[in-house]
Symmetry: C2
Subunit: 219 residues, 2 copies
């Protein structure tokens, strides 16, 4: 009497791939890259290890797919934030910034996941291209939002401003996620909005009325 062979259901290629990618992301976010072993990923995704090699040529390919999905998801969340919001340029910019500095984007797991892939990004040209595309897409969205503001600008000015605002948001994203205890609730968003305001020479804080979670949180 040996243990019965495990029962299973056949599923679509798409659902299996996304389950494996999600499992990989979760494990890296929780325990760093070394926690995302083939066996752990399979268990998390509810399959046996061998199946990974049926959908991905190697573990490395799964890793790349997971990174691509991460970056796509993060830029998508930023774009979503400016979809439903009102037409005023300041409101749209404020919503975009706030969305990047609030869960689920502002999240320690996301930062650890992002950081865990960093060295692979530098050594793998394929991942480097993904990273660069995502970074430039985010920055470009930011720059376009900045260019719609009612201001007079010098040539080249908005590029520098977009780089600066992007860096500011990135830095707040990392620190706010890693040391949440150090900051009061909403403080990260407030600092982000007022600093971007200073860089661009306007007042985004006056356009936050329709932002969620923004009652009276200024420290």
């Amino acid at each position: 009497m040996q243990p019965a062979r495990r029962l299973y259901r056949r599923e679509s290629e798409e659902s299996r791939r996304s389950a494996l990618i999600s499992a990989t992301q979760e494990l890296v976010a929780e325990g760093g890259p070394e926690a995302a072993t083939v066996r752990a990923i399979a268990e998390r995704a509810g399959v046996t290890p061998g199946l990974i090699r049926h959908y991905f040529q190697s573990k490395d390919e799964l890793t790349r797919a997971a990174y691509r999905a991460l970056m796509d998801g993060m830029t998508a969340k930023g774009s979503d934030a400016i979809e439903g919001v009102g037409a005023g340029p300041e409101e749209r910019l404020a919503a975009f910034i706030a969305a990047s500095l609030r869960p689920p984007v502002l999240d320690a797991g996301a930062v650890v996941l992002w950081a865990g892939y960093m060295h692979k990004v530098r050594s793998d040209p394929d991942l480097m291209a993904v990273h660069e595309a995502a970074y430039l897409a985010y920055r470009d969205t930011l720059q376009k939002l900045i260019e719609t503001l009612p201001r007079a600008t010098r040539p080249g000015q908005t590029r520098a401003e977009a780089i600066a605002c992007n860096a500011l948001i990135d830095g707040l994203w990392v620190e706010g996620s890693l040391l949440p205890v150090t900051f009061a609730p909403g403080e990260i968003i407030t600092i982000g909005l007022s600093s971007v305001s200073a860089i661009l020479g306007l007042d985004l804080m006056a356009h936050t009325s329709m932002l969620p979670d923004f009652g009276k949180s200024l420290p």
Copy 2:
């Protein structure tokens, strides 16, 4: 005739420990955390693997020591930058910022090293304390520099400004290191200085005359 036993010299505990720590940092910077195996570290440090356990109770302890050394070194380089420079508050602040956005601090290896430890920082309370101390020390230096500026300030203002400037510098540090090709030489420093200027309401670019590598690099 078997191969002769390897010759060696006895060295001080301090030199062996620092050699092992440096080897660890180099390997993580070059190939990520998984490249820093016990055997690779030993080879890089010019010893055999067993010696690591003679100076560190476990590989994990060596890892922690390497992270501590990294953070201490980075904050020290920032402090160094404001030592020799002139007494003007703006000049000192500008020198501090520029030093953080230039090699050897602005360096892809350093970013990869920093990122490689991130998940351990989150899971190990000891490393978390090191991270928090280093972050707050850096931010505090920044805040003190800001407070010496000739300006009128509201209570709590400089804290928020220090957080913002710190985040901006961090973001530029990461992006400038990871995508150096995307930026013109000196562009990162220029953007850092002018953005901090905007946040603080002054003009640091007028106080960069004694900065190295700052001839005519404004894009």
